[in-house]
Symmetry: C2
Subunit: 397 residues, 2 copies
């Protein structure tokens, strides 16, 4: 029986996948290997290569100029380092000590960007797929799967009469929701430009962060609703009738006026409140988003001006919202209706930092209450995960 | 405002991912391009490469010898073809006309296996990740996301006192389940060796197949429960406290006696029947699985000998189940209790074909009723997807 089992293993592997030599005594490369001191060793087998480099968001950045139509900007780009060839054509590089974080990287072999064949953990960000790894410790422990009760993550479809389509949504319900009789508060969590209903779950580690904060008693059990904010898109790439098309930042959902998603948000709330056991009152509703989703949070919370008690604007593109004559009137109404938290977070090297300062100046002028959390760093997921870990414990208390 | 939006797009892309040149007017490579005649053009930019090849499960196979400990077997391995270098270092290959199917492929650049950087659609199979694409038509239309009502796919955790752990499970509920008051039948769907609770959803296209068959009126609306059949594994790689470890066929869950998962199956049934609105009778229960999961189906359906009315053994490793003295007695009891369908499917070039024939000879001897569906081909996902499309319409009628 054991022999039959081994046979099945052998044949299943060989028939259903490619490049499985590693499983049969050939290569047994461990990459990335996270060492006890939190240095990380990367290995890549390329006996014929002339050069093997590594690029990743943990390496010192270099200046890079990006042209975008008429615009030209100099900005930080991920740096690269050389791997050194060792025995058997296996190249290797060991990083310095890395701070706890979820990191991304790729190899560059003779100029060609390739993924690490020994690391099956990949995350898509718009049209790019990169390998990821996690250094434990500190806040990053919240991004790990830990031995705590786990919530449910469901991909569902809801009806949006406003946009005249069925739309996909990712919903986290906390551990115990299904067997409880309690009503739960809801956090609506919105992605940035180029993202979709998969962004917060994949790059944002939302389910791990919520599982861990709830288990530690630092956050109230809550439902998290992760929408697709691209108003002409039904769902994430690959999840619609368009099939496996090539995602892009431009075109598609991202050129649709921001306002149309905001106008359709009532459909999301209606769906959630008629399908889940929720506290369907202002005190049980929070909304937050990053970048474009921060703009959506600004726009939606003033448009539905007496609906949310908690707002989180993470590196928000507040200028993207509806800036028509009604905007200030809506903001004033939102202020007069009152709320518990209007939390603005932005990195001090974020390109939206100044526009967030300007926005707060405007809020000051209106005596619109808010809390500002200034962090280091720029317009990056590292910050957005941290903001989520800081925002969630303040909710529904 | 438009300008700010473009700026956000530009900066978000550049800071959150690598190799984004394609988005900024550099490469605009379309690969794979599915042509109107169902030939497929693959393109790869590698100006410095000496050779670019393609390997994929749509290419003619070659003979390959695999050594596995003492065993040595000659078997079919995926073939390779050469791409031809064109202008600007872009290599290209156009396939012959491909039959409708979900296909996998990789490039091989100067001997190095690399993924297609222009195709973000990847599926993990054990320790390998490959690019995929879909040719529409025929049965493969059932694998496409179509404009039909979509069910919900949830990743949940259940308690298994038998195995003394919380375990992850993937559950499909059909469109309308949440708002209906009806009770639904349940199909328990089990993966093969090296797989986990993600296998049927990712490689098996279960949610698309069910959505489409139900919408066409060919299948009854049903719940599909996709378990993790590795008895010492809580969840798929990356979804446990072990973090982002390197998956392997050997070791870990796969060396655990098959029987222990079978013994724990009562925990799965209990979880499903106390958490979902289901028909908790034999007539509302089906169980099916591929390879090791076919062995599990054999084992579980005879161990719980009056529980399931429908069994599906897809390329089943029936020899892997419990073959102790009780096995035949259990089978006889299962036969005497009666059931509606015992469906055995196997490809005639499957390495388990003969052992399935032997098993059926045994069933004949016992006057144990079954239906045999013989297909072409071997021990591959292509067959298992087809078997699912054939099995599901026979259930709960």
């Amino acid at each position: 029986m054991k022999k039959l089992f081994l046979l099945i293993v052998a044949i299943t592997v060989s028939l259903t996948s490619f490049g499985q030599q590693a499983l049969f005594g050939g290569q047994t490369i461990n990459s990335p290997e996270i060492n006890p001191d939190n240095t990380v060793t990367f290995r890549f087998s390329a006996p014929k290569a002339i050069s093997v480099k590594l690029t990743g968001d943990f390496l010192p950045t270099t200046k890079s100029t990006i042209k975008f139509g008429e615009m030209e900007m100099t900005m930080d780009a991920p740096g690269t380092v050389d791997l050194v060839e060792g025995e058997n054509g296996i190249w290797e590089y060991t990083s310095g000590v890395l701070a706890p974080e979820l990191y991304s990287y790729n190899f560059i072999v003779d100029g060609l960007t390739v993924k690490d064949p020994n690391n099956v953990y990949l995350i898509r960000d718009v049209a790019s797929v990169t390998n990821v790894f996690l250094i434990s410790g500190g806040t990053a422990d919240l991004y790990r799967v830990q031995d705590v009760p786990h919530g449910t993550v469901a991909r569902r479809w809801y009806d949006s009469p406003t946009l005249n389509m069925k739309r996909r949504v990712t919903i986290y319900t906390p551990a115990g929701y299904e067997t409880s009789k309690e009503k739960y508060p809801v956090l609506y969590l919105l992605h940035g430009a180029g993202g979709d209903e998969e962004a917060w779950i994949a790059l944002g580690r939302t389910s791990q962060i919520l599982d861990n904060l709830i288990a530690q008693g630092k956050a109230k059990p809550m439902i998290v609703v992760m929408t697709n904010g691209n108003a002409d898109q039904q769902a994430a790439p690959g999840e619609t009738v368009e099939g496996f098309y090539k995602p892009a930042m431009m075109g598609g959902g991202n050129t649709t006026p921001v306002a149309s998603f905001e106008a359709s948000f009532k459909d999301v709330i209606k769906f959630v409140e008629s399908n889940y056991r929720v506290i369907n009152k202002k005190e049980g509703r929070a909304i937050a988003g990053l970048s474009m989703g921060g703009g959506h949070t600004y726009g939606i919370s003033k448009l539905y001006e007496n609906t949310f008690d908690y707002m989180g604007l993470f590196s928000a593109a507040v200028g993207m919202g509806d800036n028509s004559g009604d905007a200030d009137k809506q903001l004033a109404t939102q202020r007069d209706n009152g709320f518990k938290l209007y939390w603005i977070a932005c990195g001090n090297s974020d390109f939206l930092y100044q526009s967030n300062l300007d926005y707060m100046k405007k809020l000051d002028g209106m005596k619109f209450p808010y809390t500002f959390c200034e962090s280091d760093g720029g317009h990056i997921w590292r910050n957005w995960r941290i903001y989520l870990t800081e925002f969630v414990p303040m909710l529904f208390k």
